[in-house]
């Protein structure tokens, strides 16, 4: 077991975990933040995307230990003072989800994409979402939601 410490959603956290613990399990099991989901745990589905030092990463593709000392943001950390992030609002308004299982990963991927590319167009959204599976929606409204959010945040 090793103690792994980092900042998650602005709070310093630390937990004693096995060295092989993946970041996603650290977040879900050690910290109890269940908004980050596991759809495959082999970096195929994107349900586990979080931000590590400002970049969107699949948290099942990373050991918790690799994030030692890092700034991690999960979907629970997006809202500010009870107000949803514009991307969250857009997913809500545009029905960018059904079962909602892919949603946190989609939203975290979208937030990162909008931050990097303030001038988003539809093709870019589709390119950037290439690693996130949604089994329910056919992706259509997810794209619309992200474009709307990007417009809103411009």
């Amino acid at each position: 077991m090793t103690v792994v410490s980092m900042t998650v959603n602005g709070k310093s956290v630390s937990a004693d975990v096995e060295a092989r613990t993946l970041l996603v399990h650290y977040i879900r099991e050690a910290l109890g933040l269940t908004g980050t989901h596991v759809g495959c745990d082999t970096s195929q589905c994107g349900a586990c995307v979080v931000h590590v030092n400002g970049r969107a990463v699949k948290s099942c593709a990373m050991l918790a230990g690799q994030a030692e000392g890092a700034e991690v943001v999960t979907v629970e950390g997006l809202a500010r003072d009870g107000e949803l992030h514009p991307v969250q609002k857009a997913f809500r308004e545009h029905h960018g989800l059904q079962c909602g299982f892919c949603t946190p990963g989609m939203i975290m991927t979208a937030v990162d994409m909008i931050r990097r590319k303030p001038q988003l167009d539809e093709q870019t959204v589709r390119d950037e979402l290439e690693g996130n599976i949604c089994r329910c929606t056919g992706y259509h409204n997810i794209v619309k939601a992200i474009l709307a959010a990007s417009e809103e945040m411009r």
């Binding site: 082999t42 970096s43 589709r126």
Partner: protein
């Protein structure tokens, strides 16, 4: 799945030399960690965890891109792929490399993964691109820093990177003037590589090639330079190249392996085609990939003179009716709790021991060692099953835990509850099961041979259904045109994002709580009570919400194991299958082979249809026979065919187990029927619309099984709308760059809803005023993503006249609801609407009476509105005279009004020959596709669904079901198949099972609806849970036929077969 329990030691060298020393010191016990993205993949593939990790991430000198003094470009090995992809220098100087990098993984992977990792793996996707650029590598070795050619390194007999640290990749200053790169995969993006190909050409002043680099690699193909072909290009200008002989040269020297997904022959051909297309464009492709056939593009079809009115179902077109679903806020916040999220302080972790053999006799099970392991609290086997050791919606032939033999690899043999995952894992390994391996049967047809091994004692034939009507042989004898073929459909996997799981706990009252996502909580309870041999009332099932189901959670999943473990341990136990175990154990769509012979007369009227279908049900019955039955109910599709002979058989095999999947036999059968129709239209010289128009069923016709069906047949109207679509006039034929051929295809569906006439199907609900003033609407229904919560709110609010927010749905909990039937078969929309219609008026009257009493008024003076009770004569909405909350407060619990209903789902009357549906909905689907001449892959550009299913109750969920069903249908058609060989799955996870990603989904999807019902049609909205998948496959097949002139009959469509049939590769020698 199996993870080693070794705790590795992680080293963080500060200098390259230190990293090198560590590598040297630990040798094979060490593994270098750069981005780390491959680590978990290796574990999942069964690789041991190394003892030492050498984390390079402190070596900042190995990061970044710089232009060297000689003009070369130095790329540090630790540079992340996303930094490379978005870096200005690479983008400007090496666009081909930039492109290649962008085809690796996805953004979330590229942010971590490094170029060095890709190259050092020896099989990275980028290597061919680097070879085409004639790249070099900088290494730290015993001699210090050295520079080597990349190719020399890869072709050295040593494991390339053993004992050295890769410091940088260097692209020399003199860049090729012409380059190309292509990654070919199993789907369009984020895909394992089938093969990658790249080329770089350097020219002299006269335009002759002076240096050439042609390379392949990626996935299972080792990187290779095609030296002989390179040599053959020297001294020739691009314009004078003989593409045919270049292709022959390249094919001749490629060394490429095969696997279960693509043949070596295919890989070689697409690599060669890609290089040729990349260097020579469409003209070159004409020489090596078959001439694009231009004759087959159907013209814009005939106009159908039928009036119809349809709306586009979208937020933009129906903004005034667009509403948000009640669970959406929690879902975007990450605050939504799935049943697999719940943790309790004294909760144990459950694991199931799976058979691992597709067919074997159990000689003995010894759990003593596992039981003795500290931290293990319960081990259960068949010996713990007190009741019926079997479940199955139709026939309970699937054991909760196998006793005498196992029939598929995922069969449950034992389960464990332990204090941690690690202990459970270890305990699992301590259970000894002795097996005697039995011969297997892995093909439905062979299963029915007399000498086939028996999966069940009762024989392998699980169902044999069919009917004959009219004079079939006589009709075929006088037919003008006959089409006959065998259609094959895939073993599609539901691939819900939340795998099967949840928890169970004994209750203080001596009962049992089981919280596992399902699709019919009451039936889960019945099946579980039968296994445990307890009264149903002792069990409380919470079956909602769910992270997707699609039919795959209709049957019991982990409930039996959880229930037995929780009871034995006397503690809460949780259990969730990981993705591999879900693939292994979960139900699948049962593959079908459908032989179909269809005839029409000289005028294009259908006269005969003969169908012989055989389905692979796998090891257990579940709902398999009903699927075949439903398939057979659709053998004439939406048409009148007077003479029909149909047969459908279902066989037990050792191939997993089959059951319900959205579409449920209908979409499988329509793939065949609608393809036949399209082909007959061609033969009869009619366009696809005209042919259908003359054969469609007419309003008032009996159903296929002789049953009376509900009014509001919209076959003609939906067809007319599709015929009038602007899609037909979009770009078709060979694309401007010559790379693709584009076509448009049409198919129509008639899709039934409900369970049918042969089995009981009933609905029920209860509405009541809750203490807090909400109208509680209790349904035994599950929220599986489809939006039943919004549907309940809308239906109840409409009838009562209040707002959606006044209504609180209570679902998926046998302690709080009534049995509304299953959340399947597109039935719940009708059940909810009907329940609201039945209970609403009664509740309304009771609410008004209670309010009138409270206010000292007459009921007639009052009306229900948003939030409460209003003056009936008010003409402006304002605040209610009495809010629901105030009304509820004024009443004692027993006085608060409620209303309950129960009813039979509408079924057919008339002479019914089988299990017939009464309610139907229609769709006409248009697909526009592009067939890639390099790869034979099909890309769907547009998908339009013109639907008619009665009133749209919720705009977002209606379109969501059609779009989502549509893309699942595309998966069925183009990429999805759970590969199984000898009863053992080759597909293990999302890397070997190809769910459509966003790049595979059409960029343009439109959903249209015809909402009106016939006057006098009292049946309200029909569910659309399955309509979206019904006719997608045949629409795509027709579009492919429109583009390249061939009808593909096996789904998922094989790019290899398309390429062979269109001339892009020659058929392999027999």
């Amino acid at each position: 799945m199996k993870k080693s329990l070794v705790a590795p030691q992680i080293w963080h060298p500060e200098e390259v030399s230190e990293a090198w020393s560590l590598l040297k010191r630990f040798g094979k016990a060490a593994r270098v960690l750069a981005g780390g993205t491959a680590v978990q993949l290796d574990w999942a593939a069964g690789a041991p965890v190394p003892e030492h990790w050498i984390d390079l991430n402190r070596l900042d000198d190995l990061r970044g891109v710089t232009e060297l003094a000689d003009g070369g470009i130095w790329i540090g090995a630790l540079t992340s792929l996303s930094a490379l992809r978005h870096g200005a220098l690479i983008g400007k100087k090496l666009p081909m490399l930039c492109d290649a990098v962008g085809r690796v993984g996805s953004a979330g992977i590229r942010n971590l993964a490094t170029l060095g990792g890709n190259v050092a793996s020896g099989s990275g996707c980028i290597i061919p691109a680097l070879l085409a650029l004639d790249a070099e590598v900088e290494l730290f070795t015993a001699k210090g820093l050295v520079r080597r050619n990349l190719r020399a390194l890869l072709s050295s007999s040593l494991t390339p990177m053993e004992g050295v640290v890769l410091v940088a990749i260097v692209v020399p200053a003199r860049l090729p003037a012409k380059t190309c790169f292509e990654k070919m995969g199993l789907r369009r993006a984020f895909t394992p590589s089938v093969i990658n190909a790249a080329a770089g050409l350097w020219f002299d002043g006269a335009g002759n090639v002076v240096k050439a680099r042609l390379a392949i690699g990626g996935g299972i193909t080792p990187p290779q330079r095609l030296s002989a072909a390179e040599h053959s290009l020297i001294g020739i200008p691009l314009s004078a190249l003989d593409w045919t002989s270049l292709k022959r040269d390249m094919l001749g020297e490629m060394r490429v392996p095969s696997d279960a997904f693509r043949s070596a022959e295919y890989r070689r051909n697409v690599a060669a085609n890609a290089i040729i297309a990349g260097l020579g464009g469409g003209v070159a492709l004409d020489a090596v990939a078959g001439k694009a056939s231009a004759h087959c593009f159907a013209s814009i079809p005939a106009f159908v003179p039928v009036p119809y009115s349809e709306v586009e179902v979208s937020r933009a077109a129906m903004s005034e009716r667009w509403r948000m679903r009640p669970d959406v806020t929690a879902k975007v916040e990450g605050a939504f709790t799935y049943l697999t999220d719940i943790r309790k302080p004294d909760m144990l972790v459950g694991r199931v021991l799976r058979a691992g053999y597709p067919h074997a006799r159990i000689l003995g099970i010894d759990t003593s060692e596992a039981e003795a392991l500290p931290g293990v609290h319960a081990v259960v086997t068949h010996r713990d099953v007190k009741g019926l050791n079997g479940y199955g919606i139709v026939i309970p032939d699937q054991p909760a835990f196998c006793a005498d033999k196992v029939r598929y690899v995922g069969d449950a043999v034992a389960a464990i509850a332990a204090e941690s995952e690690e202990i459970a894992e270890r305990a699992l390994a301590l259970i000894r099961v002795d097996y005697e391996v039995l011969p297997i049967v892995d093909d439905a047809e062979r299963a029915l041979a007399p000498d086939a091994p028996l999966v069940h004692e009762s024989g392998n034939l699980l169902a044999d259904l069919g009917l004959e009507r009219g004079k079939v042989d006589e009709a075929f004898a006088r037919a003008a045109h006959i089409v006959e073929d065998v259609y094959v459909t895939p073993r599609q996997m539901h691939a819900f994002m939340e795998t099967e799981g949840g928890y169970a706990e004994p209750t203080p009252e001596g009962g049992l709580l089981v919280c596992v996502a399902g699709q019919h909580g009451y039936r889960d309870r019945m099946q579980l009570a039968r296994i445990l041999d307890v009264d149903e009332e002792c069990i409380r099932i919470v079956s909602s919400p769910s992270g997707g189901a699609f039919g795959g959670k209709d049957e019991l999943t982990v409930q039996p194991a959880l229930a037995l473990l929780a009871l034995k341990a006397g503690r809460p136990v949780r259990l969730q299958l990981d993705r591999w175990e879900s693939v292994l154990a979960g139900t699948k769509r049962q593959p079908m082979r459908i032989r179909m012979r269809t005839a029409c007369d000289a005028e294009g009227y259908l006269i005969a249809q003969e169908v012989d279908a055989i389905a692979d049900g796998g090891a257990y019955a579940s709902l398999g026979a009903s699927v075949v039955e439903t398939a057979l109910e659709h053998v004439t599709g939406a048409y009148r065919i007077p003479n029909v002979r149909s047969r459908g058989r279902l066989a037990y095999t050792n191939n997993g187990f089959g059951g319900a999947f959205r579409g449920f036999g209908c979409n499988e059968m329509l793939f065949a029927v609608e393809s036949q129709i399209g082909r007959l239209a061609e033969k009869a010289g009619l366009d696809p619309v005209s042919f259908r128009v003359r054969n469609l069923r007419q309003p008032g016709d009996m159903g296929y099984l002789g049953q009376v069906v509900a009014p509001s047949d919209r076959g003609r109207e939906t067809l007319a709308a599709a015929a009038a679509s602007d899609l037909w006039a979009r770009e078709r034929g060979v694309s401007a760059d010559g790379r693709k051929v584009i076509g448009v295809g049409l198919a129509v569906a008639l899709q039934g809803s409900g369970l049918g006439s042969a089995i009981g199907d009933s609905g029920a609900a209860r509405l009541s005023l809750a203490a807090d003033g909400k109208i509680e609407a209790a349904f035994g229904a599950e929220e599986i993503g489809q939006g039943v919560l919004a549907l309940i709110q809308e239906s109840v609010a409409r009838v009562l006249g209040c707002e959606r927010d006044d209504v609180r749905p209570v679902i998926g909990d046998t302690a709080k609801t009534v049995d509304s039937g299953s959340t399947t078969a597109s039935r719940m929309t009708y059940v909810v609407w009907r329940s609201a219609s039945e209970t609403g008026p009664e509740l309304s009257a009771k609410l008004l009476a209670a309010a009138a009493k409270e206010m000292g008024k007459q009921s007639e003076e009052l009306a229900i509105g948003a939030g409460g009770i209003y003056d009936a004569r008010r003409n402006v909405p304002d605040v209610p005279l009495l809010s629901f909350a105030a009304l509820a407060q004024s009443l004692g619990e027993a006085e608060r009004p409620s209303a309950e209903c129960g009813f039979a789902f509408p079924i057919s009357h008339g002479t019914v020959e089988g299990n017939a549906r009464f309610l139907h909905c229609h769709s006409a689907v248009l697909a526009r596709v592009a067939v890639d001449r390099v790869t034979g892959m099909v890309e769907v550009l547009d998908l339009d669904q013109h639907t008619a299913a009665g009133p749209v109750m919720d705009v977002a969920n209606y379109s969501g079901q059609i779009e989502g069903g549509g893309v699942q249908g595309l998966g069925f058609t183009l990429t999805e198949d759970t590969l199984i060989e000898g009863g053992t799955f080759t597909s293990r996870n999302f890397d070997s099972y190809m769910v459509p990603m966003i790049a595979d989904a059409p960029a343009n999807m439109r959903v249209f609806a015809m909402e009106e019902l016939d006057a006098g049609d009292p049946y309200g909205p029909r569910g659309v849970g399955e309509l979206g998948i019904s006719a997608v496959s045949p629409a795509v097949a027709a579009a492919v036929a429109d583009a390249v002139g061939i009808w593909v009959v096996e789904a998922p469509f094989s790019p290899e077969k398309i390429l062979i049939r269109t001339g892009g590769m020659s058929a392999p020698a027999e």
